[in-house]
């Protein structure tokens, strides 16, 4: 074919791209693009913030490539130690974690603060998938009960930090694995029934601020300047955006500081105010494209472990998008969930791209494993 040089280049290119799923990557980049455009407006045209997000993106893409090149079996091997380390770290947090804003969520590592609950977000699905793969074909109720224990331990530790939002999301990620692994409908329905029954008991154990959030969610106007303020202002931002939006950099709710957390959790309100319903539909379509591709990858995965991990990642990705958008538009109470690939924040961006890398690994290692 060509000169040795071009052959070398071609090999490097092949090495770089062969594990990359172009559709998944393309959709993700498009969403990140939307995010950067919105961030520029939400951060009042702050170039440093934009630069920092772009640098995080670069690092995230490198990690994505790395994970795309790690075979699912390798991931399965590190699942158990990863989970155990995460649990130990959560116990450490409870013992000598740093208290910030009344919550004990962080471990001080000297250079930086580290939140073990973030690690658990990946460790738990890996652990559960490993467990079900191990007993593939012979999974019984007792396995589900054991899996439930694997879920309950970290969820409990995170809940008492207290971080109700994260503990629910981690519980969800575990539940998705159980669901995909074939948890009987009777048990699912039974669990829902039990949840409904113990609701009042849980209520009595909630912290005041948690109850406040729930009450305010049910009626934001009961505290328009306090807890309901975020919800009301976000709805006003979205609603006043109309069909076409107020135009980039022209959102009044955004630029006059009526929106809280406007470059992080509430960035969608900025987007919806400035780009309107049309922008929202485009963004929903991009997410749907990404999630659709992830569903196809999941469906084609060759091992149970890969299927369960990919399925859990896919469903979690959807969950983050849904919970954030529903929260911003007033359908759910205000919980601290960023909008995937759009909200400002390096950690979230990195863990999302790692997830995408795992999906790509599942996709690209499929034939290899099958053969």
């Amino acid at each position: 074919m060509g000169t040795p040089f071009t052959v070398t280049l071609e090999r490097i290119w092949e090495l770089l791209t062969r594990r990359i799923d172009s559709m998944l990557f393309g959709a993700a980049l498009a969403i990140v693009g939307v995010g950067l455009v919105t961030l520029f407006s939400a951060s009042d045209q702050s170039v440093p913030r934009e630069t920092s997000q772009v640098m995080s993106l670069g690092f995230a893409i490198v990690l994505m490539w790395l994970f795309a090149n790690i075979a699912p079996q390798t991931l399965a091997r590190i699942a158990v130690p990863l989970y155990l380390v995460a649990v130990v770290l959560l116990v450490c947090v409870a013992a000598f974690g740093v208290v910030v804003n009344g919550s004990r969520r962080w471990l001080n590592l000297g250079i930086a603060r580290f939140q073990p609950s973030e690690m658990m977000k990946i460790a738990l699905p890996l652990m559960l998938a490993w467990y079900f793969q191990k007993f593939e074909g012979r999974i019984g109720l007792r396995d589900f009960a054991f899996a439930a224990m694997l879920i309950v331990v970290p969820v409990y530790l995170i809940k008492r930090q207290p971080d109700l939002g994260t503990s629910i999301l981690i519980a969800a990620s575990g539940f998705y694995v159980l669901y995909l692994a074939g948890l009987s409908w009777r048990i699912i329905i039974g669990l829902v029934a039990v949840a409904a029954a113990v609701g009042p008991v849980v209520w009595s154990h909630l912290h005041d601020y948690q109850r406040e959030r729930i009450l305010t969610f049910l009626d934001p106007t009961r505290d328009p300047l306090g807890a309901g303020y975020h919800s009301i202002q976000a709805s006003i931002a979205l609603g006043s955006g109309g069909v076409a939006g107020k135009g980039w950099l022209h959102g009044t709710q955004t630029h006059l500081d009526f929106l809280p957390e406007k470059h992080t959790d509430f960035i969608f309100a900025v987007f919806g105010e400035e780009f309107g319903l049309i922008g929202n539909v485009v963004l929903l379509a991009l997410y749907l494209l990404l999630i659709g591709r992830a569903v196809i990858i999941t469906a084609g995965a060759s091992t149970l472990f890969a299927r369960l991990v990919a399925g859990s990642i896919t469903l979690m990705f959807f969950t983050y998008v849904f919970v954030n958008m529903a929260m911003v538009s007033g359908l759910l109470p205000v919980v601290g969930v960023p909008l995937p690939l759009v909200s400002y924040g390096g950690t979230a961006l990195i863990s999302l791209f790692v997830g995408l890398g795992v999906l790509m690994s599942v996709q690209s290692h499929r034939k290899l494993v099958a053969s």
Binding site: G182, G239, G272, F322, S329
Partner: protein, 657 residues
Amino acid sequence: MFGRLFGGMRDSGERRGEFDAPELRNPEREQARFRRRLVLAAVAMVAGFGGLFARFYYLQVIEHAHFETLAETNRIAIVPIAPNRGVITDRNGVVLAQSYSGYTLEITPSKVPDLEATIDAVAKIVDIEPRDRKRFRKLLEESKDFESIPIRTRLTDEEVARFAVNRYRFPGVEIKARLFRQYPFGALASHAIGYIGRINDRDVQRIAAWDETADYKGTDTIGKAGVELSYERELHGTTGVEEVEVDANGRPVRTLKRTPPIAGDDLRLSIDIGLQQVAEEAFGDRRGALVAIDPRNGDVLAFVSKPGYDPNLFVDGIDPVNWQELNDSPDKPLLDRPLRGAYPPGSTIKPYLALAALKSGKRTPQQTIFDPGYFQIPGQSHKFRDDKPGGHGVVDMYKAIVESCDTYFYMLGADTDIDDTARFLSQFGFGRKTGIDIEGELTGVLPSREWKRQRFSGKGYPSDARKWYLGDSVSAGIGQGYNAFTPIQLAHAIAMIADNGVGYTPHLVKSVRDTRTGEVTLIASQPSGRIDVSPQQLAFVQNALVGVAKEGTSAAVFKDAKYVSAGKTGTAQLFSLKGEKYSEHHVDERLRDHAWYEAYAPADHPVIAVAVLVENGGFGAAAAAPIARKVFDHYLLGESAPGPAPVSAPNSDDRSD
């Protein structure tokens, strides 16, 4: 279970049978179920996005108009801009009340959790006196929660700068630019000019009654007394509006639209502040009232109520100490004496009664009586005493006025029906409001049978009390008994005599200047009536009044005056003498007689008429007439004439007035 996890699958076969194992055993079926569940999840995710879309559609299309309004309300604040209150000047353009802008430090109590702690902290940056705190507390009690209340007014530039640096530490505390009212002459003419104060609940109702609530949005003070009160609507102006874009903290970002305020009208008073000053100084420490009127048009040239008060104290809310002092003082500095002090007129009523007698024919100028020093109603033993023991001897009407002979007027009173007298005197405006252009005037009392019937109609009075007795008429003949006139009524009446029987409604405001167009509207003189007497009858009384100042009770005071004046002294008894001889020195100061003097000058073409009352001043000739002399000297000669020879405390010879 842990055994199974770490020790392999020894017993897995056994367990498998317990649950729906048969399907699980088949990887094909398992995978099929996985697919089914994945498809279900996919459907759920699409449905979730569908739900989100529905929500967006609801917010952004169906409820768009509602949220757009909310966003605009969020964003745009309508800020009222208070208009500059009109300037009040005297007749020569000397400023008596003006507004200037200054800075106040204000606290919005609803935004501050601990007021005392906040004030203590602020006090470390800006001086806050105990009286500021007291005033703040008083205003706090009177105000609504959402208002901001000044803790300090008139900040210096340095204080403004110092606080601005620390502003972030004090949410709910801010510096505001306000317009302050200032009265450069302090207490001088205070009852005429009045004052402004913070709007209270009653004022709010008043504003609502004018339908001007919107126009007072940016205003927090309103006229409370005097011209400031009565000409509130002219002085206030029209509030401007600024539409500003504000951020979530309420800080203005930029101005979108601005309608400037229109300043209030400027008022030019008929008062001559120089004359006013001379008049007030002439009172010294004594209490009393003086009204000087231009008899040709009703211009009020001087309007004195002593003691006065400093209207500047009220401007930013009076502090409780000053307020209590003003309220509790036995000197009643807040009493508007010219309008609200109703005093027995004493002998000042005599010229009017003489005119009434001439008109009715009860007396001719030449008719004489003999005065033994007292008058008795036939068949009664009570003696109505003349001030001059032994009497004035043979007295005609001229001498009766000039020497102020009581016996002459006792007899006249006994000979005249009180209702006829009341009818005639009411032409001068006694017993009703003069209609001066500031509020609060009393009607005083011009007694008649009907008046007495109504006055004592209460169940607590015996029916005898409602009857009119001859003795009542006799007392009324020398201005005692039930008669009570206000100084403004007397000034108006003497001005009518000065202007040959023609009267004008007294007025303090001479012209109103529209500050926008510069157009000046003169307040037209309103004729208040004409006395129904012949010119000869009037001329006779006028001549007698000249006689008073030339050879009568006030002659000593007007000796060497470079003009001819006319006047009448009066002494209003407060202390019932019961036939005893009155000795000034033996009566408590507060129970001493009030001294009156009514006068006008120059006698042939009067340009000024005054009524002077000195409370507990004793004899009119001694206490009140010298004040009139100083006023005339200043007004007619442009000087503060050397004081006239002091009138000695009246001895028996000229006690009469």
